[in-house]
């Protein structure tokens, strides 16, 4: 008979055993590498937060780079895209905030002391970065983030469908609407710009000849051209030529690849997937000019790496950023061109990246250089949301564009007042 079965397991013994197990569990947790500082693992522990990229292999790549870094133990939080912003912002308020995270340059993060000054690590190589990228990360002469990738966004079109419908590549918004009408057939819609249309918010402003804010950080988007553009967008939305209710948003090329539409607004990252699905039967063109005073435009989006200024390991995090996104050119090129296609922000890399030198990728780079507009660091997330509401209200809900823009002005001015006084 075993000793166990022989013993007298009353309630007190059971309670003691349970408490012992709990204590042992707690001690065990202290010894493991839980991704936070203070563990028993060798070196410093850093946590980086990324949104989930759509292209296969990206998560493994980021983790592979992190593993190659010997000065610290870097763990990666890979967050579903739609949850990323809310998770990042709430995490930054807590002690479990990541030491590093990717996001877009936003002045309120600088003003609230959430991101660290990275000028000292970027300055030595500043001239090799795209000047527009440096400008979009600079506040009062200090640089607050390192651009990892530039993502030009434009229209992708099916060459065969346009040829069959005898449609030329549109250069004006009116031509785009005509093309969408001609390309719409029983099973295929002419055009797809995302279900909520927010992916073209910025390009509509630029193509109407306006900007988001002036150099003095005043409203610059509320112009007659933008009003005209919004009216045209409403016409297009109700025309029946726009694909609505697609299963995936415009950042995913599935709708285009599956033949649900003839033209889709998407980003350069989708090129390899489109090439695989459609061969050479596709091309790209910029967002057409909306008014006579406007100009074709391309949104040069992208992602940048920031260091949490309130983190416990700011210096170690800066070292890692320098190592990966400044020194390791091989990884930077791999990140930019081995999964989806992105343009490396380093001029030397952008020029040498072989995958971007031919075909539609080269055309994408050309559009980026010729028509590209970059993020304005003063255009914050709250302002972005306010302008998204303009699209929701007047394009999808038929509110008067002037009234919708007035409401947006009130929200943006509230933000501007808080940020700049």
């Amino acid at each position: 008979m075993s000793a166990l079965s022989n013993s007298n397991w009353d309630r007190r013994n059971v309670l003691r055993a349970a408490m012992g197990l709990a204590a042992a569990g707690g001690l065990a947790a202290c010894g493991g590498n839980n991704g936070r500082g203070g563990g028993s693992g060798s070196g410093t522990n850093l946590v980086q937060m990324f949104h989930a990229y759509g292209e296969a292999g990206t998560e493994q790549a980021i983790k592979r780079y992190a593993k190659a870094y010997k000065e610290a133990n870097v763990t990666t939080q890979w967050i579903t895209s739609s949850d990323f912003e809310s998770k990042l912002f709430s995490a930054l308020l807590t002690k479990n905030a990541p030491d590093l995270f990717e996001f877009h340059p936003q002045i309120q993060m600088v003003k609230s002391g959430q991101v660290a000054d990275l000028t000292d690590i970027i300055d030595p190589v500043k001239d090799d970065f795209n000047p527009a990228d440096i400008k979009s990360h600079t506040v009062d002469g200090k640089i607050y983030g390192v651009r990892m990738i530039d993502d030009p966004q434009f229209f992708f079109y099916r060459k065969s469908m346009l040829e069959k419908a005898k449609v030329e590549v549109p250069t004006t918004f009116d031509e785009l609407m005509e093309a969408a009408a001609k390309l719409t057939t029983g099973k295929v819609k002419g055009l797809y710009m995302g279900n909520d249309l927010h992916s073209v918010n910025d390009t509509l402003i630029w193509s109407a000849g306006a900007q988001h804010l002036t150099e003095k950080n005043e409203i610059a988007y509320h112009t007659d051209g933008v009003v005209e553009g919004l009216k045209k967008m409403r016409t297009l939305f109700t025309s029946g030529d726009l694909l609505l209710g697609a299963p995936t948003e415009s950042w995913d090329p599935s709708s285009f690849n599956q033949g649900l539409c003839a033209i889709q607004f998407c980003g350069m990252w989708a090129m390899p997937a489109i090439q695989d699905a459609l061969g050479d039967d596709w091309g790209v063109f910029p967002f057409p000019k909306v008014t006579d005073n406007g100009k074709q435009s391309v949104y040069n989006g992208g992602w940048s790496m920031f260091v949490n200024a309130k983190g416990k390991n700011v210096d170690a995090a800066k070292e890692y950023v320098k190592w990966l996104w400044i020194d390791q050119k091989e990884y930077q090129e791999d990140w930019a061109t081995s999964y989806g296609f992105h343009i490396p922000p380093r001029t030397s890399l952008a020029e040498s990246a072989t995958k971007l030198k031919s075909g539609n990728a080269a055309e994408g780079v050309k559009l980026f250089n010729e028509f590209g507009h970059f993020d304005n660091i003063g255009w914050t997330q709250a302002m972005r949301t306010a302008f998204e509401d303009v699209f929701a209200n007047c394009v999808r809900k038929n509110m008067d564009p002037e009234k919708a823009l007035d409401r947006c002005d009130a929200a943006v001015n509230r933000e501007l007042k808080k940020l700049f006084g």
């Binding site: 739609s82 912003e85 809310s86 308020l93 609230s112 099973k187 609505l244 209710g245 949301t385």
Partner: protein, 321 residues
């Protein structure tokens, strides 16, 4: 004889107790068990409910952007901002429409299901489980199924496929607010998710109705069916109905997941919690305004709940039946 035995036992008990060792510490306390079992929950309640509410109250009087430890006192500015914000006030209207749809339909459907299942003599447990099962599904998962499979706006969405058989063009159920098809999607999703749970409550209540009432009514000439349902069953379910409506109303106030996932980034169809998330918390990180809105909403829920309880007689006990 038996009385004598009892008396003997009763008289000997104190003597035995007095000879026993006195109990030590809290174990001797009659309230020890109470604190042992409720203590952890009370601590949890204090940490995760009351402390955040108090913190939220404090934040609502501060300029708390990008921080939850602010230092700039702004008085009632956040309350003024939220109460004059068209979107926040409009969200209360959205809630009213939603509650007007969902509360009566869920009540009627769950009661109907309960009556049907309760009358079944064959496979009752099976159908009870079938109707209850959706309760275990997360609102997020259900919203995604509704959005991507059933109410997808393209030709291979289930509803559009069915409509296509009758020559109806594809409908963008969730994208175009004119006409507001999105309500159909939202209400059906929630009906599917929660009717089973309330059905179980009604089944329990139905099984508590004394059979003698129906027998007495039959003797008095009442016809089974609509007449007994109206004059016996429904009045007997009054307490349960009141509780169900109260729970449904609170659940409607707390609606978030399906609205957030079905109607991302719209300016319509935003119930209060979604509006608070977009306008004050989330991406904008305005925790002061968000807290003010949350507290306004809390006061409103309490007021409506008390009013509804008073009108429907919640908590009056047996006489309310």
């Amino acid at each position: 004889m038996s009385t004598t035995t009892k008396l003997d036992l009763a008289s000997s008990a104190p003597a035995k107790a007095s000879s026993a060792k006195p109990r030590r510490g809290l174990r001797g306390s009659p309230t020890f068990a109470f604190w042992l079992f409720t203590g952890p929950f009370l601590i949890g309640l204090a940490i995760f409910v009351y402390a955040p509410i108090l913190w939220s109250l404090w934040l609502s009087f501060f300029e708390a952007r990008f921080t939850v430890t602010p230092d700039k006192f702004v008085g009632f500015d956040n309350y003024k901002y939220m109460l004059t914000n068209d979107d926040f006030v409009g969200s209360l209207g959205t809630f009213t429409v939603f509650a007007a749809f969902i509360v009566p339909t869920t009540w009627a459907l769950s009661l109907g299901l309960a009556l049907l299942v309760n009358r079944m003599r064959f496979m009752r447990a099976f159908f009870r489980s079938v109707f209850f099962l959706p309760t275990a599904v997360s609102y997020v998962a259900a919203a995604l199924i509704w959005k991507m499979s059933i109410f997808s706006g393209v030709r291979f969405g289930l509803m559009n496929t069915v409509l296509g058989w009758f020559g109806v063009e594809n409908i963008a159920w969730l994208i175009d607010p004119n006409p507001p098809w999105y309500w159909l999607v939202i209400v059906t999703a929630r009906l599917w998710l929660q009717s089973g749970f309330y059905m179980i409550l009604f089944i329990a209540a139905l099984q508590n109705i004394p059979e003698e009432l129906y027998e007495a009514a039959a003797i008095d000439g009442a016809k089974s069916g609509w007449q007994t349902f109206w004059y016996i069953t429904l009045p007997q379910l009054r307490a349960t109905s009141t509780a169900v409506i109260l729970l449904l109303l609170i659940a409607a106030y707390q609606a978030f997941d399906e609205f957030f996932n079905l109607l991302s980034k719209t300016t319509w169809g935003r119930p209060p919690l979604v509006e608070l998330y977009y306008k004050a918390l989330g991406e904008s990180q305005d925790y002061g305004a968000g807290s003010a809105g949350a507290l306004i909403l809390t006061v409103l829920i309490c007021a409506v709940t008390l009013l509804q309880g008073k009108i429907m007689g919640f908590g009056r006990g047996d006489e309310s039946k």
